[in-house]
Symmetry: C2
Subunit: 268 residues, 2 copies
């Protein structure tokens, strides 16, 4: 089943739509096999009921499918990427963080700051938590997962080296495209991640070839922290991106999750 978050407003989708769920007109909806949009009251995590309305996908503007209470992101989780970037293989699953200000939806533009010189894409699987969870074993880990979506962990590589935290290199406004929807039924074991640049395949890898898998991360994290409904966990990337330039269009697609498309635009 596919869940979207969207709004009806005619105007431009403001970035705060991604951040202040409560302050916009965004609503959750199921997206059926015929691309019909079935809005609900509430949310898919804590409870929802259909409003009875039926809309077409063309009638709505997609927002990021969830605004997380906490935005977790795994770095260095695929060996080829680690080697290409000249980094060290981690000896344990230390989860990191990204910031909600940077989230944008499918179809929105990534704005490359005027002084950004080396902007790369990173196509990633995103795990969406559905249930409050603490102290899960690896075997229990999937019980708290609601579904999956995709993320593009856009990174400025020179800033990544010079900034102590990744605040600017990975969390500048618009650097975290996510979507287009949450899919509850996928087989991660058989999933492939494909990234295209201007329509041409640029990166391909088996999504599940992770150094530390989903079950390991969720179990390890939940020993020390509570996962909450709506939390998201980005699982890292493999391969290498070329340097992106003004006008580039990047599409991230993972088997069964659709396509997350965003244009990269140089800040004026």
């Amino acid at each position: 089943m596919k869940w979207i978050r969207a709004h009806l407003e005619g105007g431009e989708r403001g970035q705060e739509g991604a951040v202040h769920a409560g302050s916009t007109n965004a609503f959750y909806a199921q997206l059926d096999e015929n691309d019909r949009v079935l809005p609900v009251r509430g949310d898919p995590f804590l409870g929802s009921e259909p409003t009875g309305d039926i809309l077409r996908l063309d009638d709505v503007r997609l927002d990021v499918p969830v605004v997380p209470p906490t935005f977790y992101c795994v770095g260095l989780n695929y060996t080829r990427h680690i080697a290409t970037e000249g980094l060290k293989i981690p000896d344990k699953p230390d989860v990191g963080y990204r910031a909600n200000n940077a989230l944008i939806a499918h179809g929105q533009d990534v704005i490359m700051p005027a002084d950004a010189t080396k902007v790369h894409y990173e196509g990633e699987l995103v795990v969406v938590i559905g249930k409050r969870a603490r102290n899960l074993t690896p075997e229990q880990a999937r019980s708290c997962v609601f579904g999956y979506t995709m993320g593009n962990d856009v990174s400025e590589r020179n800033w990544q080296k010079s900034d102590r935290t990744f605040w600017r290199s990975k969390n500048s406004d618009t650097f975290k495209p996510m979507g287009p929807w949450i899919e509850t039924d996928v087989d991660v074991a058989r999933m492939e991640t494909v990234v295209t640049l201007n329509g041409k395949e640029s990166t391909r890898f088996h999504t599940n070839d992770m150094l530390f898998g989903i079950d390991t991360f969720i179990s390890t994290m939940s020993r020390y922290l509570t996962l909450y409904p709506g939390d998201i966990l980005w699982m890292g990337t493999d391969g290498h991106s070329p340097d992106l330039v003004d006008g580039d269009v990047v599409e991230v697609s993972l088997t069964g999750l659709g396509v997350l498309r965003n244009r990269f635009v140089r800040e004026q």
Copy 2:
């Protein structure tokens, strides 16, 4: 003016109260000079109106005064602390992040995980953003500030060395006490930070003796990111904490902001 966030429930205040503002009975209220609680509909950032009710402070249980869309935290911002911890003085203001799962209110217990061996307090000034802001000069920076509260950036020093990201060392559940309220009228330039351990003064410093000040951080950050109403920025700490043990009570007090009191309890 003082703003609190609180709830009336008789039961234990769940941690999700700190995370899912929309899913609890928490409400905002003004706290007047006579400790009367004046609840509002809405929130102090995006708009509120009094409900007309008048409660006593004893009638309510305090929640963290705000659940931030993004939780910013400055590390290494006081030279004495940097020297004591054997760290390097940063050459630019790189803001970092903390996680909402770790937030607890004034009066709640910090739970030290069973395998935590070196837990320290860090008393900090917290800046609460009130208005959406982008590209502010240092002179304009305070225009987006709503008020101030206090935080205790609890840290496990051994994990801080071994974890790549500070996920466990600084973001284990309950490691981020914040409160008790937001004060809109304070003079940061004349502020002192005092931390007591079991009633005895343990740390004291001039709050404003920062390596990079509030105006510098807000201006630098806002060049690359949008600050949103409710975002929080913890400003770092000075001095050194002793190793905390089961039953210790830590009080953080900054001039004009009250007292943030939390007991430290060893996980069973």
